[in-house]
């Protein structure tokens, strides 16, 4: 019997529900307490106890299942768990989404010059700062500019439209109206202050308002800016500075098209945010509570263990305590003995979707100007003239994300990882750079695979003419141009061929300031091993010739005009990408669709191949073309004009003169 007592009891751990546990308990009682208990009728008081135990087991199993299910994003159902999991993946669920629209911002400036040379005096152009508040009074909704409107500059992606606003008695303009577009979002701007005493690691504060859309700024009492980061481990932050001579005298030359320079700064003053399902918004700061610099708090070789430098380190005040690491600012600094002023926006929701032409009131416009040498009255007049309107309705405002939406968005967010890995990642990332850092209209990415004409290195070997002849040229064959095109592949680098627009929306090379901004912008996203070379894409300017026969009874000039318009549309620079070939039959087809065109025929002049559409290279730099010479005739294969081997794009520079169409007759 003693042996029996020592033997472990046979317990079934598999059952989880009431019926299973009840059955197991009955079996257990039958096996181990046959003399003490044998009444298993449901009405018996003993059975009541057994069933209560089974019930408790069932409830416990339910909660274990429930907790496990709630720990998995795909199955979680409780809002608070979905919020917690989403934020652990780095995704911030939205409690409320603001409406947004493009706002037309107007300002009048006095005229400069006289006679035929009257132009707007852009010196009176104000810089309306982001954060300026406007409102749709009729609906009681406020909106905030999220982009700067700088009336003193104009670029192809951010052009200023001018029109005559006022004329004098002799009809000469005295004032011009400037118009620019800027994005604005809905939401009330709230300012709140929080005082901090002694530093506390991972200190948190809760904002007073709910439905917080965005933390606009966080400034301490010394005027230092605290930055919003995705996680406290992130110490590199983008910051922008005006592209002026103070920043870089060389790059400042490009500040008309690249008004801002992007720079990465390393900061300890940072915070992350946390949203609760009830709309409560929290800010959490870092762990750095030490008053000294990190270098003084953590051990370094000069203070620890290096007897050559410090023979008395054990008796010194050196930082030997490993717990000192916990006080460093690796995860950011904890605010201490300061007051933080936090500016944030709240609101959002479906009510913010106000109709067109309703955002017309200025609430508080923050505008700046370089007033040196300007007339005070005119300056004030210009400031007061700033007005706004939304030509299109505000859209996008909606309430909180549903559980389902959050789950789907988290999956998508987690997969993207905010890393540039594929070619498309890089392209999307570069295109998403804000235009104030320079405009990028075309980008093409290849592996660094440069042409080398004999002076390159392949696997450590210098290519001399002898090596070239021996390795790449067939014996007894002469050296050809293509033999010289030895490629040197570099798997560790990417070549970005970029092009931008000038003010007339013609393709042009991107300036150095923009290139530097691209490099900075890609910095945190690119892979460690991806070196990035930013180069100029090649612009091949072309002209197009075609001939048609019209249908009888149609106005030939009108038909030709429409055909040229079709070709213009086909070559609209917005639709073209670097390395895109021209398919001649597509152009002929587009022309044939014009009403009144009977047939598209090969042009008669200078058309030895009898091609339906003739493409010719326009390269005269003095006439405003790119200067790149490209032999089109050798690039045509089976009715397709292929671009150059080097990344290049076709462009009709001056459509009004570069597209020539002829109507040869009608039938």
């Amino acid at each position: 019997m003693a042996l029996d007592k020592q033997r472990p009891k046979d317990i079934n751990f598999l059952n989880k529900n009431f019926t299973g546990l009840r059955g197991d308990l009955i079996d257990f009682a039958k096996d181990y307490f046959p003399s003490s208990y044998s009444d298993f009728n449901e009405t018996s008081p003993g059975m009541m106890f057994i069933e209560m135990a089974a019930y408790v087991g069932d409830i416990l199993s339910f909660y274990i299942d429930e907790q496990f299910r709630e720990s998995l994003l795909a199955y979680a159902e409780e809002r608070k768990t979905v919020f917690a999991i989403a934020q652990s993946y780095g995704y911030k669920p939205t409690i409320s989404t603001p409406a947004q629209t493009t706002l037309e911002v107007f300002q009048t400036v006095p005229a400069a010059g006289s006679g035929d040379n009257v132009t707007p005096n852009y010196s009176y152009g104000y810089r309306v700062k982001p954060g300026s508040v406007v409102s749709a009074d009729q609906f009681g909704k406020t909106f905030r500019l999220v982009e700067e409107v700088d009336f003193s500059t104009s670029g192809s992606l951010d052009p200023v439209e001018t029109s005559i606003y006022e004329v004098d008695d002799s009809g000469n303009p005295t004032k011009f109206l400037l118009k620019k577009n800027a994005r604005c979002v809905s939401g009330e701007v709230v300012k709140e202050t929080f005082s901090f005493g002694s530093a506390k690691a991972y200190d948190m504060l809760t904002l007073g308002s709910k439905n917080v859309l965005e933390v606009i700024s966080c400034i301490d009492s010394d005027g230092n800016k605290w930055y919003h980061v995705d996680s406290l481990a992130q110490d590199l932050i983008y910051d922008e500075v005006r592209n002026d001579a103070e920043f870089d005298p060389n790059l400042a030359a490009y500040n008309d098209t690249t008004p801002y320079m992007l720079k990465l700064i390393r900061t300890k003053k940072r915070f992350k945010t946390h949203i609760k399902p009830d709309g409560t918004f929290q800010l959490q700061f870092g762990s750095g509570t030490a008053t000294e610099n990190d270098e003084e708090v953590i051990p370094n070789p000069s203070t620890v263990g290096n007897s050559n430098v410090n023979s008395d380190f054990l008796n010194s005040n050196s930082a030997l305590d490993p717990a000192n690491f916990l006080e460093t600012s690796v995860y950011g600094q904890a605010p201490a003995n300061t007051t933080l002023t936090i500016t944030y926006s709240t609101g959002g929701g479906i009510d913010d979707n106000v109709p067109a032409n309703s955002i017309t009131s200025k609430r508080s416009v923050d505008a700046a100007i370089n007033s040196a040498g300007l007339d005070g009255t005119l300056r004030d007049e210009s400031l007061n003239s700033i007005s706004v309107n939304n030509p299109s309705p505000a859209t996008g405002g909606k309430g909180a994300e549903t559980i389902k939406e959050i789950k789907e968005n988290v999956k998508q967010y987690f997969q993207a990882q905010q890393r540039a890995v594929s070619k498309e990642d890089y392209v999307t990332r570069v295109y998403s750079m804000p235009s104030k850092f320079g405009n990028i209209s075309k980008i093409f990415i290849t592996q660094d695979d440069q042409l080398n004409s004999g002076q390159g290195v392949i696997q450590g070997q210098t290519i001399s003419p002898e090596v070239l002849m021996e390795k790449y040229v067939e014996p007894n064959e002469p050296l050809k141009v293509q033999d010289l095109e030895v490629r040197v592949p570099n798997p560790m680098a990417l070549n970005f061929y970029v092009l931008g627009y000038n003010k007339q929306k013609k393709l042009e090379h991107v300036n150095e300031a923009t290139k530097r901004n691209i490099k900075t912008y890609l910095g945190p996203y690119r892979m460690l091993t991806d070196a990035v070379n930013i180069k100029d894409g090649y612009i091949i300017n072309i002209g197009v010739r075609f001939s048609i026969y019209a249908k009888k009874g149609f106005n030939k000039e009108e038909i030709i005009f429409k055909c040229i318009q079709k070709v213009k549309d086909y070559f609209n620079v917005d639709k073209w990408q670097i390395n895109q070939p021209i398919i001649l039959s597509d152009i002929a087809y587009e022309i044939s669709l014009v009403e009144g065109v009977n047939s598209v025929v090969p042009p008669i002049e200078n058309n030895p191949d009898g091609s339906l559409i003739i493409i010719n290279n326009k390269f005269n730099k003095a006439s405003g073309y790119s200067g790149n010479i490209f032999d089109i005739s050798t690039a045509v294969k089976n009715g397709v004009v292929y671009p150059s081997l080097d990344p290049s794009i076709f462009e009709i520079r001056f459509p009004d003169i570069d597209i020539v169409g002829k109507c040869l007759g009608d039938y």
Binding site: S35, S36, S38, D39, N41, E42, S44, P45, M48, E51
Partner: protein, 145 residues
């Protein structure tokens, strides 16, 4: 005197063995054989079970919503001629369903209109020992207090 294999022993043999227990009896009182006093014969245990069944309202027991008797619901019915019949049928229905080994010998229902009191006494036996009877008495005016 303990039975050699209590699990397979017949009910009659268990009834005769004073050291073998059937189940927990009502009311719950402390016993020298265990935490609760247990009954040693089927008939005594059945009495506890009967009491437990008749005093349980349907829906009261977790995961056994049909276990119990309608006596408590009938308590609020008008005290008319049909009341006795309703009490009788509810007792027979629940005993027939949950205690099939019980044979009801008689159900005596005494309605005291002046006191708003119903005295019920149920006399029963088991199929295994038909000659031995037991009686339980329920006083429905005080049973809920």
């Amino acid at each position: 005197m303990a039975l050699e294999n209590p699990r397979t022993t017949s009910v009659r043999s268990r009834d005769k063995d004073p050291d073998t227990f059937i189940g927990v009896s009502l009311p719950f009182v402390h016993s020298r054989h265990g935490w609760f006093k247990s009954s040693t014969t089927l008939l005594k245990q059945t009495k506890s079970n009967m009491k437990n069944l008749l005093l349980t309202v349907k829906g009261e027991r977790v995961n056994q919503p049909e276990l119990g008797c309608d006596l408590f619901n009938i308590l609020f019915e008008p005290m008319d001629d049909k009341l006795s019949e309703k009490i009788d049928s509810s007792i027979r229905e629940s005993v027939g369903l949950w205690l099939p080994h019980v044979v009801l010998k008689g159900i005596n229902i005494d309605l005291q209109h002046d006191l708003n009191l119903v005295n019920i006494s149920v006399t029963f036996t088991t199929r295994i020992e038909p000659n031995a009877t037991e009686t339980i008495t329920l006083n429905l005016a005080t049973v809920g207090e």
